[in-house]
Symmetry: C2
Subunit: 241 residues, 2 copies
Amino acid sequence: MCADKCRLRELDIFKPNTAQELEFMQSIKVRNTRFPAGKVIVSERASAAQLYTLLDGWAIRHKTLKNGRRQILNIMFPGDLIGLQQNLLDESTSNVETITEVELCELDRNKLWLLYQSFPSLAYDITWICAHEEQIVDDNLLNVGARSAVEKIAMLILHVFKRYRALYPESGKVIPFPLNQQDVADALGLSLAHTNKSLKKLEKLGLHKIQDGKLTIINEKALATVADYFESPITPRPLIC
Amino acid sequence: MCADKCRLRELDIFKPNTAQELEFMQSIKVRNTRFPAGKVIVSERASAAQLYTLLDGWAIRHKTLKNGRRQILNIMFPGDLIGLQQNLLDESTSNVETITEVELCELDRNKLWLLYQSFPSLAYDITWICAHEEQIVDDNLLNVGARSAVEKIAMLILHVFKRYRALYPESGKVIPFPLNQQDVADALGLSLAHTNKSLKKLEKLGLHKIQDGKLTIINEKALATVADYFESPITPRPLIC
DNA sequence: CGAGCCCTTGAATCCTGTCAAATGCAGTGG
DNA sequence: CCACTGCATTTGACAGGATTCAAGGGCTCG
């Protein structure tokens, strides 16, 4: 099972839960699942969505327009809830798709209301996670709406690096980077060609390197300057699993 | 007081509450307040934020960059919670500013946790409101990232019209429109000049008219086509007040 | 009547998108 | 072992949409 021996829970960033909370989360858990890369977990066409916590791997949440353009809303990291919006609002308007192989903790969506009744602390945590995800979408909207192409790229790179390092705080300037350039383009509202050119520009300036699915941060300070990046403190966050 | 004789509650769009819920909301309410247009209610510099429900009038939530560019994240209508994100995450990263005179219901933020303990139904409602606001930011991000200037304008106009009409479902194609062109530009990630030109283009095509702070929808169908607008059903929504 | 704010418009610039083609690489099958 | 395909990356030329800069008009208000 997940709740008591979930490896994710061992990470420092997640705040601890009481034995009772752990026991309850255990009881609403259906199973652990694995999905390969490129699989759609939540579809905007589906009426009802499952509820998951992402345990390992990367996913993206996105929308598409009739003209074919895709907008990535946020990148999902371990600890993020998948399908919460869809379950609460009972209409799914965004898709969630894996970009690496992932491990998921599947929760029984029919017991969500039971959770609110039984464990207000966990209910609070879920609201926290929802507000936190909104904050990330806020940042992405600011990024897409108010920065130039090069600034957007710098911001995305730093954002991904910071979020990954908040989870896995080894020192080191190299992290996995499973996004391809089309993904980056769709996250930033840029064309593929121009994304490539902006990416190369930063790379030639010696700020970063992307190669073989790995991102190397070479000049973090310069990236932060280009992006007008604002450091926010890393605080413990709740985990529903 | 607000909870039992709040006029907003009379609107059809808000789902009813039990007597006990109403009584509790009454107890966490501090007072009703009015603010003039152009007043900052929540600042990203402030450490702690108050918690309000917007009862009447319009507000915007926005962020700014060092280069001076401002991004409006969402437009706030009556029924929206103000300051929830700031209270939950205890860091404020966006500003909320009135664009008309507003009436607010001020809630005691120190009793938020009591609400979660005492009324799971209301806790669920708050999460619903949070998820709903995120959904709107999602839509705005899609808009800013994946549409052309004219399409963005058409979408914004329709979005505002639909949200206003969901609250006040009189028939009629004219609604208040307190946003100036700089606001529209900052909501869509466009320059002021180009916003003006795109606005005029749609107006000359006979799709809408904006004059004296009023928006008239002339050709709703054409607007929807231009914007690739997807109609979503209007469902009852919770109100915390 | 002048100041300030918002809306409007034009011209020039430049950033970004579109179109197109070439490269490199991994996987497939002959 | 080697064509061949498919996919992601890279690059160039060009067009076009959006920004910038600038100036003028209409309006309210002191």
